[in-house]
Symmetry: C2
Subunit: 328 residues, 2 copies
């Protein structure tokens, strides 16, 4: 099943079911007005949503409209929790190597994860608004899951059952702000921009064999200004899988329904697959050439993040954003 | 005006207006079903809420009920954003001094602030549930404000206008988990428990002269097992005031309505006022006696946080929690 939230006069958008081919949508307002409402009452609303999805794919849903990603907000236009892991250690390793630092051994035992800003997410085709190019504006292309209620001390085995929806995302990162901020010791705040998720969120069954219950085994493709930056496999080198990330987050407290958990930048040890952030390309250039060549974003640049199934069909729709100057 | 959310069958509770003396309440459901809804539409709903509050204080509100803090959730039972500052540098200084570390000079220029967990807050009289006493369970008594929409690049002067409500809180902190977690560099996640806010949130006008538009000039009183731990003044030694904290948070992105911004543990350079967390008492003992004497919480311990006006009346109602063992 594929779900989206169309922009409307409210902050949470209107829940729609989207056809498998992403061409059509039907309002699910009579079942659940918003995606947060649906995830708050998942077991209760799932059968009716699934029935509507089946109707829609058969061309029989009443009030079917064309699905326009430009009219979509992020599936959760705002969320009560957004936790972003850093599960691809090749990303951590490469970025640290470029500044001459080794990766601490404890990073192999305990996932890196930070509490991210979730008070609003932009739509998949909305601009990335930043006040200055000097912030070092970068993308981070990732996979994320949405959970229902997760109890404290949830084991990884149990955590797998709490994955209800899967998305892809662009976590805008401000590279020239991050180092000083992290040095203060309290994590990211000013160093992250507003996150954008894919037009649709999908249930794991929609991913077929590509979802193994723990991770998503497909490449994630990133273009910057129509040039491919990379398409590393999201199923390769994910050192901490989603159940491990969820279990880590729930070590000392429960997680509320609608918690979004991110994988961190998808990254492979095999660098020939390219990159899901500019920073890794620059780190690689620094290691190989002595200095970075690929620039961070300038105003007007575009970034596109998408995932295709084995048959080449877009699963989540594209995140396609232009970096623009914020003016008050 | 004083507002609370009574627990009901929903995750967001039911909005009520509470009388100035905290004795009575009247449903505000016909004006706004939840506090989040009210803050999403603040200018629209404020006149009707204020009129109901005036009626309630005159004993004329229809359907008036007794206000029972035990039936209250946190004013926002869950929020889209919880940002906790560390604005009392005497807290930072003392805790660092106990481990032989000086306070970096840049802490005087740029506020410490972390993105906290907001997917659910416990009610003011709900237990603090932790799995182990070995976590080093501590309180942090703080002041917090709730903002409406704050634009990116908001100046401190402008930020003052975005403070809509004020609360007090207990930010449960797990002292034996925090050091290793902060060393990883991504901030707090497992090191913080579930936060509890006061029974009511109040508009700044309710605080009279004690609210100077930037900070709250009254002592915050903490008891542990009926013994006073301290009552430092929240208006003294607050190095970064609320407008400065809001402006800091909005440096690279806007803040959505309902953002909660905390002061960090209230702390005075004059140690005779006592402490708003056990950790500071232990740090003081370490500096003066060579080792800490005050234990962290054991199961069964109680913590009470309250603020009284100049006439000795409780402003927000008490946060009164018992530390209990979490069992799955």
């Amino acid at each position: 099943m594929k779900l989206a939230s169309l922009k409307n006069h409210t902050r949470d958008g209107q829940l729609v079911v989207v056809s498998r081919d992403l061409r059509h949508a039907a309002s699910a307002a009579h079942i659940a007005p918003t995606l947060q409402h649906a995830i708050d009452h998942w077991a209760d609303v799932l059968p009716a949503l699934q029935a509507l999805y089946a109707q829609l794919n058969e061309g029989k849903a009443p009030g079917t409209i064309a699905f326009d990603a430009a009219a979509a907000a992020s599936p959760l236009p705002r969320a009560y929790q957004w936790l972003d892991g850093s599960a691809y250690l090749s990303h951590v390793e490469l970025v640290r190597k470029a500044r001459g630092a080794a990766m601490p051994q404890e990073f192999l035992k305990d996932p890196l994860m930070y509490q991210g800003s979730s008070d609003y997410f932009t739509g998949p085709l909305d601009p990335v608004l930043v006040a200055s190019e000097d912030w070092g504006v970068d993308l981070e292309a990732e996979i994320a899951v949405i959970t229902d209620d997760v109890p404290m001390l949830c084991t990884p085995e149990e955590a797998a059952r709490h994955v209800k929806l899967v998305m892809i995302l662009n976590d805008t990162s401000l590279r020239h702000i991050i180092p000083a901020e992290l040095n203060k010791g309290f994590g990211f705040l000013n160093g992250k921009g507003v996150t954008a998720f894919s037009p649709v969120a999908v249930t794991p069954d929609e991913l077929g064999d590509a979802w193994d219950g723990r991770k998503l085994n497909l490449p994630l493709t990133v273009h910057v200004n129509n040039a491919k930056l990379g398409s590393p496999s999201a199923g390769t080198d994910m050192y901490f899988d989603f159940p491990a990330l969820i279990s880590h987050a729930a070590k000392t407290r429960p997680l509320g329904a609608g918690t979004v958990i991110g994988s961190g930048t998808v990254s492979n040890h095999d660098r020939s697959a390219g990159f899901c952030c500019i920073s890794e390309a620059r780190a690689m250039e620094t290691v190989e050439l002595g200095e970075p060549k690929t620039p961070f974003f300038a105003f007007g640049d575009r970034v596109r993040v998408e995932m295709f199934d084995a048959a080449g069909r877009s699963i989540f729709g594209a995140i396609d954003q232009q970096v623009l100057q914020y003016a008050r």
